[in-house]
Every structure is written in C-alpha cells, then in structure tokens.
Symmetry: C2
Subunit: 339 residues, 2 copies
Amino acid sequence: MKEVLKLVFVLFIVSCTSVKGPNQPTFGIVIHGGAGTILKENMTPEMEHAYENKLAEAISVGHKILKEGGSSQEAVEKTIHVMENSPLFNSGKGAVLTAEESIALDASFMNGNTLDAGAVAGVKHIKNPISAAIRVMKNSPHVMLAGEGADYFAANQGLDTVPESYFITENRLNDLRRVKKRESDQKVSINLIEEQYFKNQRIGTVGCVALDLQGNLSAGTSTGGMTNKKWGRIGDAPIIGAGTYANNASCGVSATGWGEFFIRSVVAHDIAALVEYSGLTINEASKRVMKKVKDLGGDGGVVVLDTKGNVAMEFNTPGMYRAHMDSDGNLEVKIYRDE
Amino acid sequence: MKEVLKLVFVLFIVSCTSVKGPNQPTFGIVIHGGAGTILKENMTPEMEHAYENKLAEAISVGHKILKEGGSSQEAVEKTIHVMENSPLFNSGKGAVLTAEESIALDASFMNGNTLDAGAVAGVKHIKNPISAAIRVMKNSPHVMLAGEGADYFAANQGLDTVPESYFITENRLNDLRRVKKRESDQKVSINLIEEQYFKNQRIGTVGCVALDLQGNLSAGTSTGGMTNKKWGRIGDAPIIGAGTYANNASCGVSATGWGEFFIRSVVAHDIAALVEYSGLTINEASKRVMKKVKDLGGDGGVVVLDTKGNVAMEFNTPGMYRAHMDSDGNLEVKIYRDE
C-alpha cells in the first residue's frame, strides 16, 4: 500500500511542477467501484483504507498511461484490470455468485471517437472480462457475445483464462448463502421480492471513463452482476447505452446500480443525449437522469467525463466508491455522500 | 388468404362508417418484417402476395384489439405472434440458424406508460419469444434473461414450448450452408468479413409499435438474429434502447437491420431522445438517426409511432416489409422503397 501512495504522491508532484499553457490539451480519468448502502458506521478504518488505496492504485495506472500519451482505451482497460483483480469489488475476482453458486461476469467497452463497442455477458473463465469486451470490439464482427460462446471467443483471442474457482471468494459464498436463507425464510416469491433484498446484493460493479491527450473518450464497465441472480439474468453493465456509453460529441459514462432500472432508463445514453441535444452540463444531465432512475424506484450512480475534462460523479445511494484524477494529477478519492 | 383480405376489408368498412369527433382518442399500429436488399426483380408475384397478406393479417389482429379498447401491450404481442408463427420472417418459426445449425431467438418488449421492459436472448424452445419477453417483464424481477435460464424461466411460466426442430426450415438450412460454403471458399477471416456477407443474412426481424385508446404506447421486436452467427452473438433486437424503446413522453420504436450498428447507435432511444429533447418530429428524428447508422456503415430501418398516432417507417435499404393501420382502419402495406 505504501508503494501505491508513494506513486500517487510522485505523480502529483510531477504534475504540479509541469508548466502548462492555457491551451494545452487536457486529459482526465474517473472511476467507480460500485454504489449502494455504503455507510461509515458499517465500515472499519482498515476497510476504508483498503478501498481508498485500491481506488488510488487503479486510477494511477490509467493516469500514467494518459499522461504519457497513451489512448483512453488502454487507460480504461488497465485501470479496470486493477479492480477486476482485487477481491474488494464485484467484478473479476470477488464477483458475486449466481443462484447456482457459479460465476457469470459481464463487461462492456465503448470508444467515443469511433463509436466502436464490445461487450460480453455471462463469461465464466476469462480473468479480465473488460479485455474480452475490447477483443469482441476489435477482433469480431459483433458487438455483444454471451455465455459459452463468449468464453470460447475470448480464450481463442489468447486472453488469460482461469478456472471458475479463481473468482469465488469465501465472502461471496457467505453472501449468497445468507441471501438464499433469507429468500427461503421469507418465502419471497419471484413476484414479490422486496426492494431491500436487491439493494445490498450488487454493490461493487467497477467502471472507468478516460479522456486522452488526443481528445478521445472511452468508457468501460465490468461486473459480476447481482448475488443469487437466476435464469441467465443480464444487467446493465454489458448493455451499450445502459451501463456504458462514450461519444466525443457529448461525454463518456459508466454506470453502477440496480441494473434493471438502468436498462429501462437507458441511463448512459440518456445522459449523453441530454448533453448533446439539450445543452446540459454533464453534472446537470447526470442529476436529471439519476432522478429519473430514483422516480422509477431504482438506485445507483454514474461517473461521467466530457472532452473538456469536466467530471461528474452522481449517485442516489448513501455511498459510491469513486475517484477522479485530472491533468494536473489532482487526485480525489471518496466513498460516502458528504465528504 | 381470401379470409384475411376479407377481414381487412370488413375492418376498413366498419372503421370508415364509424362517426368520430375531432377530439376522439386516436389509436394506431405499425409493423415491420425486416429491412434489407429486397428488390422487386428478385421477387415473384406469389412471394409479394404472401408477404403482403401476412403483414395485413398480422396488423389486423392488433388493430382489432386496439379498436375494441385492448391494451397496446396485447396488440403488440398478438400481432408479433402472427409473424413469429409464419416461416416468412426471421423470427420464431423460420428463424435463421447459428453456425452450429441451431436456433437462438431474441426478443424484447417495452411499455411506454410505465417504462417496464422485458427481454430474452438466445432462447431455443419458446414458441413465441415476444411472450417470453413480456413474462420476464411482468413476472420476474429482471429485465433481460439469456440462454438456458431464459428458456427455463419462460417454460415455467407456462408458455408453449417446442422442440428446436419446430423452428428450423429447409430454406434456412440452405441459407446457412450457402453462407458457410462462401465463408470457406473465400477464407473470410473473422477480422475481414466483407460487408455484403452480412447484408443479406438477417432480413426478417419482426417488430410492432402500437398506441391504444388509453394513449399508451408499446413496442416489441423479435428475431432469429443473423445466419451463421457465432459465439453466442446478441444483436440489437433484445436490447432496450437499441432495437426496442417506448416512452409516452416521446414515441415507440422497433428496429431491424444490422444489429451491431444499431447497438452502437442506441437507435431506438436516440430517436426518442431527439423527439423529447430536440423537439423533432418522429419522421425527422428517424431520418436523422438512420443517417447516423448509414454514416457508420450500417443499414436497416425502424417503425415509429407517437401518442398522436403519427407514424414513421424509415429505412436506408432498398426495401422493408412494413404496414401501418390508423384509427380509421386505413391500411398501408409496402415492401419496396418507392411505392
């Protein structure tokens, strides 16, 4: 952890001392690690630090790529890898489990310059699903692949594969068993699932939006979905327009939350449309769309970046793991609402 | 066929003779049966009549429901059933085949009043996938289910199930074999699939948008996807925002075409956003979005309806099977561009 903080500090100093003219191209990066009922009273200082350090480590990886002139695509991919490889988040290692105690990972990516996009849904053996989404975009004629076919394609692309057991952690198994016990105790029918039941079973989707020195936006999102999900459920994370959208004409968006409401609200594209067609700022647009989600009964959050480097981190839950880093290396890492 | 035309004629006469005040609520319905390289010189009069009669039969079923005060949801569902049950279209019976000579059906539905939505992807045994999408919306806490889980859920809902062989027609097997032969002759790599190869392998997605006397819009889309599709490919049809969208605040949309471009363009929601945020008519919005799809390299079409009963049927291909019927029972059935 010390090394990570040292790296962030060095980056910060290097950035602050660099001479920057008024018209110098800007760049930036913003990430989330999930939104939900994250309350200070339920966290230990150790957990807080673990999340803060991992968010700082992840965003620093992407920031370095951008600072050195790398593409927003690479920054998004490599930043998300850090979070996918950490058991702290509900993506990659540490993903939540389906009702069958198995893994079904979803991810999507979009390039705001070309509007190219790729997504995978329900993969079980690809170590870093965000890379699978990018390979679908780059090396297949399709945008979205699902299930065994997606695993087969990604493995054939030479991506790292792992046994399903790699992703499964003791914590997530316990989560699933708790949820199942509750479901059977309460005889919750599929028609009458109470709100709270879902609210706390899907924190930790990760996402990233980056703007590179060439002025191009990229956005990516990666998740394990919802604990105890059934029947091959697909949430918003792999849906272009819902969980992920990027367009240099408006903004890049990555969403996290109660996926069903984010699909119905076409959240990521709706924010971009309000920016492009109604002239709203990304802050105004994000607030308006998250209000719509709330009015429907859903919750969650978004991170948004535009081509000027403006950032929005909007959510209607008590907390959202999030971080932002600008061209000057200013780093902001937050968990709760009022910090 | 005679019965169908008689039914349409009777509906027309009944509608024309009804007395309608200027403020009488309006209703309407529009359908498509796919867009693509549909050229008069490649059609026989018999084929033309078969398509025209089936389109007229399908839309008349929905029109009757609407006229009698039924919901736009029921009108969309029952209209699409007629097309799913016909081998003429690429949905339900007559769906195109995957690379493994199997079936993978996609469908989605959205209610423009409540913004409720449902979708299935890759089902193999549900006779009418549009009904499965509606059941996901009504009777599950999810919006989108995929693969075996979706089949399992839909079968448990009491929907008609059929063996995979029910859907498979000799024509589609021949199509697949032709495409595969061409692929192997030309050694088309997955990176270098030529445009034409896709262009003609996905005509026939079906869709419907309806406005009921209560002023509520619904939209639905159902497809077999793309001949020779691989790796669990999911197109735009089951994606809320891409292939299907409905919102009483703007319009209802069902799309058909080269799904990858429709996902990247978030076609259905983009049309609705241009109507709601930029004040465009549905005609202007549809033209603008189909132009964007074309500029990206894609093709296809959309049918759109708003709460005033205005209709748009826009496509950038030589033809689109389509029909529209208004409150007065005026029926318009068309196949080619300039009719």
